[in-house]
C-alpha cells in the first residue's frame, strides 16, 4: 500500500492496485461521523458499441442500458440490497453518467459490513426476465419525469445539437421505446464486458483505519475468481468538428423561457495533464467572462436578460467536451446573440488583465478548499479524474501555474463560430 501526502491540504491518501487490477483508494478523514464509499466502473451511457469478451463481433446495445443495469444490480434473489444496507444503518445509492456508473453508500456505523455489502452486491449480478420486465415500468416513470423537466430537456437538447454521431447525445436513461428491447442476456453481456475489477475503482473516505480497510478489500477480492484481465474494446464513429445543429427551439409548458449557448470542444481527445490544464483554464476563462464580479454579468443582469438561474460550465471527458452558458430569460434570442458576441470578442480581443486572472485563480483555489470539505465530492471527483488519467489533488498546483497565455490558448482553441449552438425552451403558444 502506497501513502501519498498532501502537505498544504493536510490530507493523506492510501493507494493499492490489487492483483485483479482493482484500484483502491482510502482517504482518512478525522472528525467526520460518516464514511462514504464509491465503487465505480468506467462504463456509462456512451459505451454502447463494444466487443464482448470471447466474441468476434462488435455489438450495439439499446440506449439506456448502462443505467438500466445500474438499477438491476440492486435486486437479488432474496430481495433488494437497499434493505440490507438499511439494516446496517447505511444509506445506499447509485448513479450513471456519460462515462461512469457508481454505486455508493454512506454510514456512520458498521462500515466494514457495509463495505462488504457494497463490493459483493456489485460483483454478484442477478438478472431474470421477470425482474427486467418489472423495472421497465419504474424506469419508464423516471424517463417521463425527466421529459417534463424543462432544465433537463434544455441541457440534453443542447448536447444533441452539438454531436452528430457521438453517443453522448443519447439521454442517459434512454427512451421508453429503447429500454423495451433490453433483455437479461444483454445485461449480462454488458456486465461481463465492463464490470471486471480492472475497469473499476473503489474509493473510501471517512474516519477509517486505512490498513484495516485495505486488508479487508484484499481478502474479499482474493476469494473471487478474476484471473484474466480482459481488454475492453469500444468503438466510436468519427465525429465532425462543427456543431451538428445551429439552433433548436422546444415548446414546453413553461412560463419563463430558457436559453443555453454551447460550444463544442475540439480538444476532446486529451487526457492527463493536458486535459487538466485545458479544463481548468477554460473554467477560469468562463469565470472571468461571466462570474458575478465580471462586467458581462452586470451588463446581462442590468439589462434584465438573466436572473439568478444563470450559470456556466466547461466539462470534458475522453471523446467529448463542451462549454455551456445561460439560464432563464425573458428574451432568449437576444440573450443567445449577446452571449455569442461576448464569447467571440473574448477570443478576438483577449484583454484579460493579470489582476483579474490572479483574483479568479484565488477564487478557484478557495472553491476547491470548500469542495474538499465534502467526502462525496472527493470520492466522485477523484474517480472522474482518475478515469481520465488526472489527479484531483493536482488541481491547486495546476491552477497556480495557469498564465494569461494558457487562458488565451484555451480560449482560442474553444471559441469558434462553427462550433457554436443554441438551445431554447419557450412557452407553448
Amino acid at each position: 500500500m502506497e501513502k501519498i501526502t498532501f502537505e498544504q491540504l493536510q490530507e493523506e491518501l492510501f493507494y493499492e492496485k490489487l492483483d485483479n487490477g482493482l484500484d483502491v483508494y482510502i482517504l482518512p478523514k478525522k472528525g467526520f461521523n460518516k464514511t462514504y464509499a464509491t465503487f465505480t466502473t468506467k462504463y456509462g451511457s456512451i459505451d454502447n458499441h463494444f466487443l464482448p469478451p470471447g466474441k468476434n463481433e462488435f455489438v450495439k446495445v439499446p440506449d439506456g442500458i448502462a443505467h438500466f443495469l445500474e438499477h438491476k444490480l440492486f435486486e437479488k434473489e432474496d430481495g433488494d440490497v437497499f434493505q440490507q444496507f438499511s439494516k446496517q444503518g447505511a444509506s445506499a445509492n447509485a448513479f450513471t453518467s456519460f462515462t461512469r456508473t457508481a454505486y455508493l453508500f454512506s454510514s456512520t456505523s458498521n462500515v466494514e459490513k457495509n463495505l462488504e455489502t457494497l463490493i459483493d452486491f456489485v460483483q454478484e449480478p442477478y438478472f431474470t426476465e421477470k425482474t427486467v420486465e418489472k423495472e421497465k415500468g419504474i424506469i419508464g416513470q423516471e424517463i417521463t419525469m425527466y421529459d417534463d423537466n424543462p432544465d433537463w430537456r434544455l441541457y440534453f437538447g443542447l448536447i444533441e445539437n452539438m454531436y452528430k454521431n457521438h453517443p453522448v447525445k443519447i439521454d442517459i436513461a434512454g427512451t421508453i421505446e429503447s429500454i423495451s428491447h433490453i433483455t437479461k442476456d444483454m445485461l449480462y453481456e454488458c456486465y461481463e464486458t465492463f464490470y471486471h475489477p480492472s475497469n473499476m475503482l473503489l474509493f473510501i473516505v471517512g474516519p477509517v483505519d486505512p490498513d484495516q480497510i485495505m486488508s479487508q478489500v484484499r481478502t474479499n477480492q482474493n476469494k473471487k475468481d478474476y484471473n484474466e484481465i480482459p481488454e475492453i474494446k469500444r468503438r466510436f464513429e468519427e465525429e465532425p468538428a462543427e456543431a451538428a445543429e445551429k439552433k433548436k427551439v422546444l415548446e414546453m409548458n413553461v412560463q419563463t423561457s430558457k436559453c443555453l449557448v454551447g460550444i463544442k470542444s475540439k480538444n476532446a481527445a486529451q487526457s492527463g495533464k493536458d486535459m487538466l490544464k485545458n479544463e481548468l483554464s477554460l473554467n477560469v476563462l468562463l469565470d472571468i467572462l461571466f462570474g458575478k464580479s465580471s462586467d458581462h454579468y452586470s451588463t446581462l443582469y442590468n439589462e434584465g436578460l438573466i436572473d439568478d438561474t444563470f450559470s456556466f460550465d466547461y466539462t470534458q471527458e475522453q471523446g467529448f467536451g463542451f462549454a455551456m452558458v445561460g439560464g432563464d430569460t425573458n428574451d432568449p434570442d437576444r440573450l443567445a446573440d449577446t452571449l455569442k458576441k461576448m464569447l467571440l470578442d473574448a477570443r478576438e480581443k483577449g484583454a484579460i488583465s493579470q489582476e483579474t486572472l490572479d483574483r479568479t485563480k484565488k477564487k478557484k483555489i478557495g472553491a476547491f478548499l470548500r469542495a474538499v470539505n465534502s467526502p462525496e465530492y472527493i470520492a466522485n471527483q477523484f474517480t472522474r479524474y482518475a478515469f481520465n488519467e488526472m489527479d484531483l489533488f493536482d488541481v491547486v498546483p495546476t491552477l497556480e501555474s495557469i498564465t494569461l497565455k494558457d487562458v488565451e490558448t484555451a480560449a482560442g482553441d474553444l471559441i469558434s463560430e462553427d462550433r457554436f449552438t443554441v438551445c431554447q425552451i419557450v412557452p407553448k403558444k
Partner: protein, 426 residues
C-alpha cells in the same frame, strides 16, 4: 460521545452560537432573522436579503462586491429564505477559506466577520432608501423566482398541495412571497421594513469552524450590535381537522401525473411524541426500505419516486410521487392501505430497528456539514426547546411499537392533490 458542542452566548440583540470543529478547510458564518409568517411582510422579507447582498456602502456595485469576495479566496455569500412552521426565516451566510490550508497565510476569518457586518449594517442606502436601481433589478428577479415554481412540476405540485391544504393559515404563503405584491415595494418602504425587522426579528449568528469562542465573541461584539428585544412569536398552529377529505385535481399539459397527499400529524418538534412520529414516518415512507417504496415502486412498478416527509414545526406529513395519469386510483389505494397497516401496528421489529438505525445515521451525517449543523441546532430556536442531538438520538432509540402505532393513529388525511396530464380524447 459529544456529537456537536455548541456554546451559546447572549449578545446585544442576538444570540451567538459557536461550534468549534477542526474538520473543515473553511469557516462559516450564518446569520438568521426570524419573524412570524404574514401576508403583509412575506414579500418584503423575500426581497430584502437579495437587495442586501447586491451591494453595500463600501462596495456600491455587485461587480465591486463580488470582486472583493473573489479576492478573499472566493469567499461565498449566500442568502436564502425558508418557512419553519409559521415562521419566515432569512438566512445570510458567508463561508471563507481557513488560511492554514493556503500558501498565503493572511488571516481571513476577521475579514469574513467584517464583510458580514458590512452587508447587514452598512447597506447601500441614501436618504432613508435603498439604492433604487438595485431594488428595481431585484424586484424583477424576485418576480421571476416566484414565477419559476410553475415550471418545475415537482415543486409546483408540492406548493399547490400546501396552498390547498392550509388555505386559511399563514403556512399557505409562498416562501418567496406574492407576485402581485412585489410592485408595491419601494426603496423607501423596503428600507423602513428592514429597520423594523432589525428591531423586532429574532436574530441568531452561528460560527462554525476552527474558531475559539473568545475570538468569535470579540469579533461579533465589536461589529454587530442591535437593540434588545423580545421577538414576536407566531400564534400557535391550530391545524383544522377536516370532516371530509379535500380532493383537488388540476389539469396541465404534462406527461407524468404528480400525486401529492397532505396529512396532519398533530405532533410537532419538541412534543414527547415527536420521536415516535419520526420513526413512524421512516417506516412508512421516508427511505428506500420503507413501505411506500416497497409497495408503490418495487411491487406495483407504478413510480420511480415515492416518499413521505415531515414538516416538523407545522405538524404536516406530505407524500409525493410521480405516476402515470391512469394509475391514480391504484396508487392512492396502496398509499392508504400502507397507512392503515401502520395504524394497525402491522410492521415488524426489524422494520423498526432498521428505521432507527437509518435515522440516526442521517442525523449524524447531517452534522458532518456546517450547513447541516446549523439546520439541526436551529430547530431549537424555532421551537423554543433545548434538545441536544444526543437527546434526540437517545429518545428515538427508546421508542416502542405501541408509541409508533399511537403516532400513526394521530395522523389524519387532509388533502389529496393530483396534477394530471391532459387525457387523450378530452
Amino acid at each position: 460521545m459529544t456529537v456537536i458542542s455548541e456554546s451559546v452566548k447572549g449578545m446585544n440583540g442576538y444570540k451567538l452560537h459557536v461550534v468549534k470543529t477542526e474538520k473543515y478547510k473553511t469557516n462559516t458564518l450564518v446569520w438568521k432573522m426570524k419573524a412570524p409568517l404574514e401576508k403583509d411582510t412575506v414579500t418584503l422579507r423575500s426581497l430584502l436579503p437579495h437587495v442586501l447582498q447586491s451591494s453595500s456602502s463600501s462596495y456600491p456595485t455587485t461587480g465591486k462586491l463580488r470582486s472583493y469576495l473573489d479576492e478573499l479566496y472566493g469567499a461565498t455569500l449566500f442568502v436564502d429564505l425558508s418557512k419553519k412552521g409559521e415562521y419566515h426565516v432569512i438566512t445570510v451566510s458567508v463561508e471563507i477559506a481557513n488560511e492554514k490550508f493556503l500558501s498565503d497565510q493572511t488571516p481571513l476569518l476577521k475579514k469574513a466577520f467584517q464583510f458580514l457586518a458590512e452587508i447587514l449594517t452598512k447597506p447601500n442606502v441614501k436618504g432613508g432608501a435603498f439604492d433604487p436601481d438595485t431594488v428595481e433589478k431585484e424586484k424583477r428577479t424576485l418576480k421571476q423566482r416566484i414565477q419559476s415554481v410553475n415550471d418545475d412540476k415537482m415543486r409546483y405540485s408540492n406548493f399547490r398541495l400546501v396552498q390547498e391544504m392550509c388555505k386559511d393559515e399563514p403556512y399557505a404563503l409562498h416562501v418567496h412571497g406574492e407576485k402581485e405584491d412585489v410592485d408595491k415595494i419601494t426603496p423607501e418602504s423596503l428600507y423602513e421594513y428592514y429597520q423594523q425587522a432589525l428591531v423586532q426579528d429574532e436574530l441568531d449568528l452561528y460560527v462554525i469552524g476552527d474558531v475559539n469562542e473568545a475570538d468569535a465573541e470579540s469579533c461579533a461584539g465589536e461589529l454587530l450590535s442591535f437593540k434588545e428585544r423580545s421577538p414576536k412569536t407566531a400564534p400557535a398552529s391550530v391545524g383544522t381537522t377536516r370532516v371530509s377529505v379535500n380532493e383537488v385535481r388540476e389539469e396541465q399539459d404534462i406527461k407524468q401525473g404528480k400525486l401529492n397527499i397532505g396529512y396532519r400529524t398533530n405532533v410537532v418538534y419538541g412534543d414527547p411524541e415527536y420521536y415516535a412520529l419520526q420513526v413512524f414516518n421512516g417506516i412508512f415512507g421516508g427511505f428506500s426500505h420503507s413501505k411506500l417504496f416497497l409497495n408503490v415502486r418495487e411491487k406495483a412498478s407504478l413510480a420511480y419516486y415515492v416518499a413521505s416527509r415531515l414538516e416538523s414545526h407545522k405538524g404536516l406529513m406530505m407524500v409525493m410521487s410521480g405516476i402515470d395519469n391512469s394509475n391514480y386510483d391504484q396508487a392512492v389505494n396502496i398509499i392508504k392501505e400502507q397507512l392503515e397497516a401502520m395504524k394497525n401496528g402491522d410492521f415488524t421489529e426489524q422494520e423498526m430497528e432498521q428505521t432507527k438505525a437509518v435515522i440516526k445515521n442521517q442525523l449524524l451525517e447531517t452534522v458532518d456539514t456546517a450547513r447541516g449543523i446549523v439546520e439541526v441546532l436551529y430547530h431549537n430556536v424555532v421551537s423554543g426547546k433545548e434538545i441536544t442531538l444526543q437527546t434526540w438520538m437517545d429518545e428515538m432509540d427508546k421508542v416502542t411499537k405501541e408509541e409508533i402505532t399511537e403516532a400513526a393513529k394521530k395522523v389524519s388525511l387532509d388533502t389529496v392533490y393530483f396534477l394530471t396530464g391532459k387525457e387523450a380524447g378530452k
